[in-house]
């Protein structure tokens, strides 16, 4: 399920620390860009005009009035006044609607608790943890899927019975953040094409530079979840998670499986103390940004949403923002490298809202006309909108950037069910999660044997629950 992707992106955004302006804009319709994906264009490409007619359908309804409360996770954007500024744009169309913002540092937890009652604002960032089938219990529909899917990406996981309950605020691509100068200084002239080459490159950084080759940023917890966002890309198959894993009943971990490619690589890096920082439990997310900008850190696995933050950090410490590079996870499939684009938080309107029309108008406006995604350097949720410049490097490598395939009707919610019930939870960051167990086995020098044990345990739990749920 794509939920996963949201989850990753959201987790990042929510827990963490984003905070910055992605430089938006647009290098246009490259091959890698999302316009040719499976899902996306499913209903035909009516796209080019999308960007400007975003609020077209609602724009005339300016008779709306009332006060709406928007609950969101971007405390930074509240603090720096971006949200208030955004409201001016909204009020230009709907002068009588008063918009109030309330932001939460632990958004995901707080919204879940608040939704136990009816009072969870008028507009919310759609909680990641909510099951797809429960969306209509809480949120109002924005229209039918058939009507909206030509316009927006990533609606599949937010539609129930043909109705859409959330719109995308933006999205990101999966891959690896690196310092170009460090990599060049290490004598690397070409980006790796395989995971083995990737680890070799880290070795070169260790041998030839002062920089820490790979920074686990382990303390923050959510940082390890970034690895999971590489899995679908590593499979090169848009339907790997949503369909293949469920219908073909593949093991998550088998030699060379996408999971194995990603986490095996992670394990090998984490198991070699010369390739990462000394004391993973005392790392510091804010501190790593200027450190990478200054070439003290070579590499980190991180969604593309992070690029602009690191560039901003570079500017702040007087380093060159152009040194911050972004590459896909180098798991070649028949010589080709893939990456996946996925949505950040979606936005929904509380169905119990006293000013429901105003709330819906706000969401539609926010997701199409506010310019929020562009300002944040995210991939726009509107089909046909240009790709952000932060991803320009993908073109050079001929990376194929795809959107995950929609989940077949009968499998909706199943991946989540299996994930939570089995507690394998590939997108999770509970302290007992297999990612942490692998990392800690690696730190402890327990070797590949322990990795295999954990894989076997994950497989058996996953398979047992899958068979129970899917029959």
């Amino acid at each position: 399920m794509n939920t996963k992707f949201k989850k990753a992106a959201a987790m990042i955004a929510a827990l963490a620390m984003t905070g910055t302006v992605f430089t938006a804009c647009s290098s246009g319709n490259d091959d890698g860009a999302a316009s040719d994906d499976t899902t996306a264009s499913a209903a035909g490409d009516t796209t080019s005009a999308a960007a400007d007619d975003g609020a077209g359908d609602t724009g005339s309804a300016s008779g709306l009035s009332g006060t709406i409360k928007v609950l969101h996770h971007r405390t930074d954007r509240d603090q720096d006044g971006t949200m208030t500024k955004l409201t001016e744009g909204f009020n230009a169309i709907y002068p009588d609607v008063k918009v109030e913002y309330q932001s939460f540092t632990n958004y995901a937890d707080d919204i879940a608790t608040m939704m136990q009652s009816d009072s969870y604002g008028d507009v919310v960032m759609t909680p990641q943890a909510l099951k797809q089938s429960d969306l209509p219990n809480f949120f109002a529909s924005f229209g039918s899927y058939d009507e909206l899917s030509p316009k927006y990406y990533w609606l599949e996981n937010y539609s129930v019975d043909g109705q859409v309950y959330a719109l995308p605020t933006g999205g990101t691509a999966s891959g690896i953040l690196y310092n170009k100068k460090v990599w060049a200084d290490a004598g690397i002239t070409e980006l790796p094409k395989t995971t083995a080459e990737f680890i070799e490159c880290l070795g070169k950084i260790r041998d030839n530079t002062e920089a820490i080759p790979y920074y686990t940023n382990y303390n923050a917890g959510w940082t390890i979840v970034q690895w999971q966002s590489l899995v679908v890309g590593a499979s090169g198959d848009p339907s790997y998670i949503n369909q293949r894993l469920l219908t073909d009943k593949e093991d998550l971990f088998s030699a060379g499986s996408p999971y194995d490619a990603v986490y095996g690589t992670m394990f090998d890096i984490y198991a070699d103390p010369t390739l990462h920082e000394e004391d993973p439990m005392t790392t510091d997310w804010e501190g790593c940004k200027p450190a990478m900008a200054q070439g003290k850190i070579g590499t980190m696995v991180m969604g593309s949403w992070a690029i602009s933050q690191f560039q901003e950090a570079a500017t702040q410490v007087g380093a060159d923002p152009a040194d911050i590079g972004y590459m896909p996870f180098p798991n070649s499939i028949d010589g080709k490298i893939y990456s996946v684009s996925s949505n950040d938080y979606m936005m929904s309107a509380n169905k119990n809202s006293a000013n429901l029309d105003a709330a819906k108008a706000y969401v539609e406006w926010f997701c199409s006309d506010s310019g929020f995604a562009q300002n944040e350097g995210e991939i726009s949720g509107l089909k046909g909108a240009p790709m952000p410049e932060t991803l320009s490097s993908f073109d050079e490598l001929g990376v194929e950037l795809f959107v995950e395939a929609p989940t077949p009707e009968n499998l909706i919610g199943k991946f989540d069910d299996i994930a939570k019930t089995s507690e394998v939870d590939p997108w999770g960051d509970a302290s007992t999660n297999f990612k942490f167990r692998m990392a800690e086995a690696a730190f402890d020098g327990k070797g590949r044997e322990e990795y295999d044990n954990i894989c076997a345990d994950v497989n058996s739990r996953w398979n047992a629950t899958r068979d129970e749920i899917l029959g």
Partner: protein, 296 residues
């Protein structure tokens, strides 16, 4: 009665007449001080590092030894922490919550203690047991259900929510008040009753004044507890306008976290008010403890 103060001592024993005994006592005294000094160092060292760090600039912070003195005092860290951390707003909100909660705790706590300790009613016994039992509940695990109830009263997002929790679920204060009442002879209030005073008068005129030292103790514990509580305000007052010191510190350094030296400055700022209050109330609480316990 007030004369005992904190220097009151029970130190008795060998009268130190022989040389050996004197030496023994000298060694003993030395060891006592050594233990205390070591204990204090253990407390101090982590804090000194924070203070030193808060005065370094970023480059120095990242490169110098933790014990190294800052080459130049970087007071701007404090300015950044103070303004971006919205400390003033946090202090104001915290002060309001503390004021109301403490007043509430003292009134309900002393009343409860008075009734439970002086009147041996069946209901009192049951309630006492209920309070004791309540201390055993796993508070954090229960927050999901508490939150639902708070929400039912439309109290989430208001200061009333934490205030009610601070006042309504505080067993330790009641325990302290009861302990004090245990040590206060019943003869005073009994004779007042015999003279025709009603229980309200006894409570206000006799019990409450007698409990003053205990109130000082409770106040300190309560103020510290509320000032440092993070979980409750974070859950029940998530909006920025209702930040208290701990949540504004967290919001400031958690997600959009500043650099370490600025975080350290934030920590120091957050500690200063408690330090001031503690130093000014310290004597009262110790003297209060002693006074309260030597009546009769």
């Amino acid at each position: 009665m007030d004369g005992f103060g904190a220097n009151f001592s029970y130190d008795v024993g060998d009268d130190g007449s022989s040389k050996g005994a004197r030496f023994k006592r000298g060694l003993f005294t030395f060891l006592k001080y050594a233990v205390l000094v070591i204990a204090c160092l253990i407390v101090f060292v982590p804090l000194i590092v924070v203070f030193l760090g808060s005065l370094k600039n970023n480059t120095e912070f990242l490169s110098s030894n933790v014990f190294a003195l800052p080459t130049a005092f970087e007071w701007s860290n404090y300015k950044t922490a103070f303004i971006d951390g919205k400390v003033l707003l946090g202090l104001k909100n915290t002060a309001i919550i503390i004021l109301i909660s403490c007043t509430g705790t003292i009134i309900t706590g002393t009343m409860t203690a008075y009734v439970l300790q002086r009147f041996k009613t069946l209901f009192g016994k049951v309630l006492k047991a209920a309070f004791l039992l309540a201390t055993l509940f796993p508070a954090i695990s229960m927050q999901v259900t508490v939150y639902r109830i708070m929400n039912g009263f439309h109290l989430v997002g208001t200061m009333a929510a934490p205030i009610i929790l601070y006042v309504g679920t505080d067993i330790i204060s009641i325990y302290i008040f009861m302990q004090f009442l245990d040590n206060i002879s019943t003869s005073l209030d009994e004779s007042a009753i015999m003279d025709g005073a009603n229980y309200f008068t006894v409570y206000f005129r006799i019990i409450l004044p007698l409990l003053k030292p205990a109130i000082a103790t409770v106040l300190i514990i309560k103020v510290i507890g509320i000032y440092n509580d993070f979980y409750t305000p974070q859950l029940y007052m998530p909006s920025d306008e209702l930040s208290v010191v701990s949540t504004s510190l967290y919001r400031f350094m958690g997600p959009y976290g500043a650099k370490w030296e600025i975080i350290f400055a934030g920590i120091v700022i957050c500690i200063i008010p408690t330090l001031v209050i503690f130093i000014s109330l310290q004597k009262q609480i110790y003297a209060g403890l002693v006074n309260g316990s030597v009546k009769e």
